[in-house]
Symmetry: C2
Subunit: 515 residues, 2 copies
C-alpha cells in the first residue's frame, strides 16, 4: 500500500498531524503516488469498439475507458436501483465537512470537460482539457461570439458583459422579445434548460460559454466570478501594455485565467476532498517528467463518477426569497437570486450553509430520474462491476456487502438487488460505500477523482515546462497565479468590499479527525 493510501486510511496521518502544509517535494510524492494507483494513459480501449483500434486510439469524440467493455451479470430494474439513492422525505443527511460552495464548484468545474453527447452516449463534445469552456466556449467561433473585440483603449481583450447596478455580469442571452440579444450568440451551444422555462427565468439567462452554466445561481455565480477576473486582468493589461491589440490582451488574459482556475482546482477543491491533515500544492513541475503525463482523455467511467446529486440539499437558504429559502426545484435555471443579492453575498451564502452528504439514500426526488439515466448509461457503455474497479484502482475486492457499507439498510438493499458483492454495478456501488473519514467522498470514488483530477489538471499545456513562465503570462500574471490559492482570493479582487463571511468549501469549525 503506497503512501497516498496509507495517508488516506490514516496509517501515517498521526505521524505528520500538526503540519499545516506540505513542501513541494512532499506534495509531489503524494500526487505521484495518487496518480500511479492505476494504469496511465493512453488507455487501450474506448467506446469506439470493444477491442483496440486505431480509431479508438485517436478519435477523441469517443470516450476512453479505464477497463474494457463488459456485460455485468445482474442488471436490476433501474426503478429498483433507485431505492438506493432516494432521500426519504424530510430526512436528508447534511455533510459535516462541506459547504454548498463544494457542489457549486464541482458542478461548474466538471461541466467543462464531462460532456457526454446526449444524442450518442458513447461520444463526447469535450475538449478533454480544463480550458474553462463554460466561460470561453468550446470552439473558436463561440469564443469570438463572447468577446467584445474592441480596439478602444481600456476595452481591449474584454469579454462582453453588462452592468446591473454596480455589478458586472455576463450579458443576457435573450432580448425582451425572446430573440437572441446579440446575433453572435447563435454560435453558442443553447443552454440546457427546460423547454417550458417560465419567461421571467428565461429573460435572465446569461450568455455563458457553457450550455450548463445557467443550471443554478451557483454555477452562474462561478462563471460571473471568472468573467470579472478575466476582464479585470484584461483592463490591467490595457494599462500596462498599451501597445498590445485586442487579440493579444485577450489571449494573455486567458493564458492567466486558466492556470488561476487550475490552482483553485488543486489547492482549494482537491484539498477539500482529500482527507489529509495538510495542504497539497499545485506545483506544475510535478508533471514535467512524470510517466503519467500523457494526453488527457475523458473516460466513460469519469463521466459517471461525478454525478454528485446527493450533495444538493432540499432547499437553499437565500434571504429575501420566499421564507428565506428556495426549494431545490425552484433553484434550478434561475439567475434572479444571484442578481438580487450580488456576487459577494451569493458566495457568502454558498459558503455559509452545509451541503448535503454524498452517499446512499440522499438524492432529492427531482434528481432521481437522472440517477436512473446514470445506471442505464453505465450499462449501455458496458462499464464493468464495482469490484472490477476496486481492483483496477489498487483496492481489494469486497467479499461481503459489509465491506462496502456499515449501514444495514444499504447492505440489505445491495443483497436484495445483486445477491453477491461481485455482482454490484459500478455506479450504485460507488455511492453505496461509506464516506472516507475526513473526506466528503467514499473511498473508490475519491481515488478515481484524485487520479483523474491530478493527471488531467497538472498536464494542462499552460502548466507545461516551457510554457509556464513570465513570457506566457507577463511577470505580473505569473505572480498573480503563484499567489492565488482560494476562490476567496479571486472574489476579493472582484467585489468592492469583501464581507466578513469566509469563502470556504469546508465548514467553519470542521476539524481534521473529528466527526
Amino acid at each position: 500500500m503506497n503512501l497516498f493510501s496509507r495517508l488516506i486510511f490514516g496509517e501515517v496521518g498521526e505521524a505528520i498531524d500538526g503540519f499545516a502544509w506540505l513542501s513541494g517535494a512532499a506534495s509531489r510524492l503524494v500526487v505521484n503516488q495518487a496518480v500511479t494507483t492505476t494504469r496511465n494513459r493512453p488507455h487501450p480501449w474506448s467506446t469506439y469498439a470493444p477491442y483496440v483500434t486505431w480509431d479508438g486510439l485517436t478519435d477523441r469524440t469517443y470516450l476512453a475507458r479505464h477497463l474494457p467493455a463488459a456485460e455485468v451479470p445482474v442488471q436490476p430494474d433501474p426503478a429498483q436501483v433507485r431505492r438506493l439513492f432516494q432521500r426519504p422525505a424530510g430526512q436528508g443527511r447534511m455533510s459535516s465537512k462541506s459547504t454548498c460552495l463544494f457542489p457549486a464548484f464541482a458542478q461548474y468545474l466538471t461541466d467543462g470537460f464531462l460532456r457526454t453527447d446526449l444524442t450518442d452516449r458513447r461520444k463526447t463534445t469535450s475538449n478533454h482539457e480544463i480550458d474553462l469552456c463554460p466561460l470561453y466556449g468550446r470552439t473558436r467561433a463561440q469564443t469570438n461570439a463572447l468577446r467584445l473585440k474592441s480596439e478602444a483603449a481600456g476595452q481591449r481583450g474584454l469579454l462582453k458583459s453588462q452592468m446591473i447596478g454596480a455589478e458586472e455580469f455576463p450579458p443576457f442571452l435573450y432580448a425582451a422579445d425572446g430573440s437572441l440579444a446579440d446575433p453572435a450568440f447563435a454560435a453558442l451551444d443553447p443552454p440546457l434548460v427546460s423547454p417550458t422555462l417560465e419567461p421571467a427565468k428565461k429573460a435572465v439567462l446569461f450568455a455563458h460559454g457553457g450550455d450548463r452554466a445557467n443550471s443554478t445561481p451557483f454555477t452562474s455565480m462561478m462563471n460571473t466570478l471568472f468573467l470579472r477576473e478575466h476582464n479585470r486582468i484584461a483592463r490591467h493589461l490595457n494599462a500596462s501594455r498599451p501597445t498590445w491589440d485586442d487579440e493579444r490582451v485577450f489571449q494573455t488574459a486567458r493564458n492567466i485565467v486558466i492556470p488561476l482556475f487550475i490552482k483553485i482546482v488543486v489547492e482549494h477543491y482537491i484539498n477539500h476532498i482529500t482527507p489529509l491533515p495538510f495542504s497539497l500544492r499545485a506545483e506544475p513541475g510535478v508533471a514535467w517528467d512524470a510517466s503519467w503525463n500523457r494526453p488527457n482523455w475523458m473516460t466513460v467511467e469519469f463521466s459517471l463518477i461525478y454525478r454528485w446529486h446527493s450533495l444538493l440539499p432540499d432547499q437553499v437558504r437565500w434571504p429575501g426569497w420566499g421564507a428565506g429559502a428556495i426549494a431545490l426545484p425552484d433553484f434550478r435555471q434561475d439567475n434572479r437570486p444571484l442578481i438580487s443579492v450580488g456576487l459577494d453575498a451569493a458566495f457568502s451564502l454558498a459558503a455559509a450553509q452545509p451541503a448535503a452528504e454524498l452517499g446512499a439514500f440522499n438524492t432529492g426526488d427531482d434528481l432521481l430520474p437522472i440517477e436512473d439515466l446514470a445506471v442505464l448509461q453505465a450499462r449501455s457503455n458496458k462499464v464493468d462491476t464495482y469490484n472490477a474497479y476496486r481492483v483496477a484502482f489498487g483496492l481489494d475486492r469486497a467479499t461481503t456487502f459489509s465491506e462496502i457499507s456499515s449501514n444495514p439498510d444499504v447492505v440489505n438493499l445491495l443483497q436484495d438487488l445483486y445477491g453477491e458483492p461481485d455482482n454490484v454495478e459500478f455506479y450504485p456501488g460507488l455511492f453505496a460505500e461509506d464516506r472516507t473519514k475526513d473526506s466528503p467522498l467514499p473511498g473508490l470514488l475519491m481515488r478515481m477523482v484524485a487520479v483523474d483530477a491530478f493527471s488531467q489538471a497538472l498536464t494542462n499545456p499552460l502548466l507545461s515546462e516551457h510554457v509556464f513562465n513570465a513570457d506566457t503570462f507577463t511577470p505580473w500574471g505569473l505572480e498573480l497565479i503563484l499567489s492565488t490559492s482560494k476562490l476567496g482570493d479571486i472574489l476579493a479582487r472582484n467585489v468592492p468590499l469583501r464581507g466578513a463571511t469566509p469563502i470556504e468549501m469546508t465548514q467553519a469549525g470542521w476539524r481534521y479527525g473529528e466527526e
Copy 2:
C-alpha cells in the same frame, strides 16, 4: 557533449567499433540522448500567433515551432539563393552510402505527416502521427473508401486491390473515360499531379490513400508493398480468426501494419542515417517513461528539413525503358515503370543504384523551383537563422563560413549572399553544410531528423505501454512485428520468389569509417 554527439563525431566510435549491434539498454541511452539535445514538447509557439495562446497550444491545424517567430536580417532574392542548390549540368555528385531506396522511403514516410496546407502555409492537414495515411487515408471517410468491406470468408478486412498479371496492386483511380473508377474514391484527396498529365500516365494512377503516393514509381512501390502486407495479414486473420467480422480483421491488420512500418523507420531508415557502427533497436519501452513522450506535433522547421530534392539522381536506371534509364522529369507521376517490372524488380532496382548526394550544388533543374518555395516558406513562417537552430540543438554557433562548409565555392557563395555567418538563413544553411562522416546527412539536419524521428515515432499510441501487446496484435501479429527489421523482410513475404539483389538503403560494399 553527450554520448550521442560523441558517437556521431567519432569520439567514442572507435572504442565500440566492431560491435554490430547494441543491447536494448544502450539503444535506449542513445535514443534518449539524441532526443534530449533540445527542448521537449509541448512547444510554446505555433504559427497561430507570435506569442503564447491557448489556440496555439491546442489547434493542431497550425504548425508548432521549435523557435519563436523571427524576421531574419538578410533575405536575398531566391533566384540568388538558388545558386547554392543548382546542380551543374552533368556534374551531379552521387552518394557514397545511399541507394535510391533511401530517398524512396524518405519521401513515402514524410508525405504521411509533413503536409503543409498549400492554401495557407501556416497550416497543415497532418494527423501528426505515423499512421500510414498514404496507405489508409487521412480520415475515416477516406479509409472507408479504400476498404473492400466484404464479409465473405477470406475477404474480410481487405483493402481494395487489383491483380495485374500475377501481381497485386492498388486499384486504378480512374476509369477508361477519365471518371473515377469507383464513386467511393471521391472521398480521397485528389492526387497532386500535373493538371496536364498525359492520358497514358493518368490512366495508371493508383487509388492510394495519400495524395503524393503517385509521385514516382518508387512511392507507388512503397505503398503497393504495404497494401500487400495489409492484405496478407488480413487473409491470415481470416483463416486464424474465423469468427471475426470485416471490421475487426481490418482494424487488427492495421494495428499490426503501423508498428511494422515504425520498425522499418527506426531499424532500417534511421539506422541508415545515423553514423553509428552498430544498429539501434526500435524498442517501444524507451518512450514509456521518457520526459519527451508528449503529444506529437509537426513543426514549421520539420516541414522544411525534409526537402531532400538533391538525393534524386538526374536519371534512374530502369531496364526496358528508353536506353535503360528514365530522366528524372519523366520518372514523376508515372506508374508504368513499376507495373512493367513488378514489385520485386522495382525494389531491386531502387536498391541497386546509388542515390545522389544531399547537399549544395546538387538539385536537379526541374526541382529548383521547389527550393525557391522552401526559402520563401521559411521567411513567411518567420523561421529564425541557421545559427539560432545550431544553438537550439546543442551545437556551437558557426563563427566563420568555413565552419559550415569545407567547399570554397559554398563559402564564397554564402559570403556573397549573407555577409556574416549569423545572417545565413535556416534552409540554405542546412544544405550548405558538409555531410557528417558516415551519414548521408549534414550535422544539424541529422540532429533535427533524429530528435523528431525518435520522439514522434516511438510515441505512437500503438507502441504505448498498455497497448503494445498480443491483445492488440494477436500473438502471431506481435511476433511478426518483433521479427521484422527491414523492408526486405516485408518484401520477401509479398513476392513469390525474392531475387538475389539485397534490398538495402546502404550501398553494397559501403563500410563504416571508409570514405
